[in-house]
Symmetry: C2
Subunit: 147 residues, 2 copies
Amino acid sequence: MPDILHRIGIKSSRPEDAYRALTTREGLSAWWTQDTQGEGGVGGAFAFRFGAGGFDMTVVELEPPKRVVWEVVDGPDEWIGTDVIWDIRQEGDHTVILFTHRGWGEPAEFMHHCSTKWAAFLLSLKALLETGTGRPDPDDIKIDNWN
Amino acid sequence: MPDILHRIGIKSSRPEDAYRALTTREGLSAWWTQDTQGEGGVGGAFAFRFGAGGFDMTVVELEPPKRVVWEVVDGPDEWIGTDVIWDIRQEGDHTVILFTHRGWGEPAEFMHHCSTKWAAFLLSLKALLETGTGRPDPDDIKIDNWN
């Protein structure tokens, strides 16, 4: 089954800042969507809402400040049951994040869209950590006619 | 084998403009890399050069203004023998491009990087076609410590 893969590097010596941006409501709402609810311990849940819908995630694994894994429990059919995996490590003067969205059924057009949209949000995460300002929904980078 | 998938939509009623940006030296050098050589008929070849290296592509399929397929004949080991496929169609007031980079061996870290970097260049292509100005190398969006 195909995965969505991405890699970003943040000019930072503090991987714990990236970890915090992925595990707290305050952090997530500053780069992904302003309408983020929930809390981030293992077994906790986040509800991410966008203009057109949203996703509910359960936090299934945490290893500070190295790894975060969510399971999608509600949202578009194609997302339910997939995992979103964040691996964080320090490499010289960059905090590197390897991103994997695993468990897609088919490489349909919606998966193409989500791959590009994840990249746009990862650039938002990078901007947040480097400059203090991200581009969370509804101020996100629009990539196509599905937004 | 995993693929890199992306989708962008350009606010335009002219899919032939997207096709031209993917099949001419002038177009390619305005969104991917300024150091682009070659010509784009079937069987033709392009040489794309960046600071750190580059790619040689053979044009293996053209269907104006709907489809472009390149085969990678030289470049990083992971790229050689892979195909880059561009499917273009008009959808309302957007020209939609489905992008597939097919034939990767393993989902190694370099593939994560290339996936995000392709997204950055596709946003450059979208900007070129919407505003007249792209961000080709060396003015490209830097995504990580590999650039």
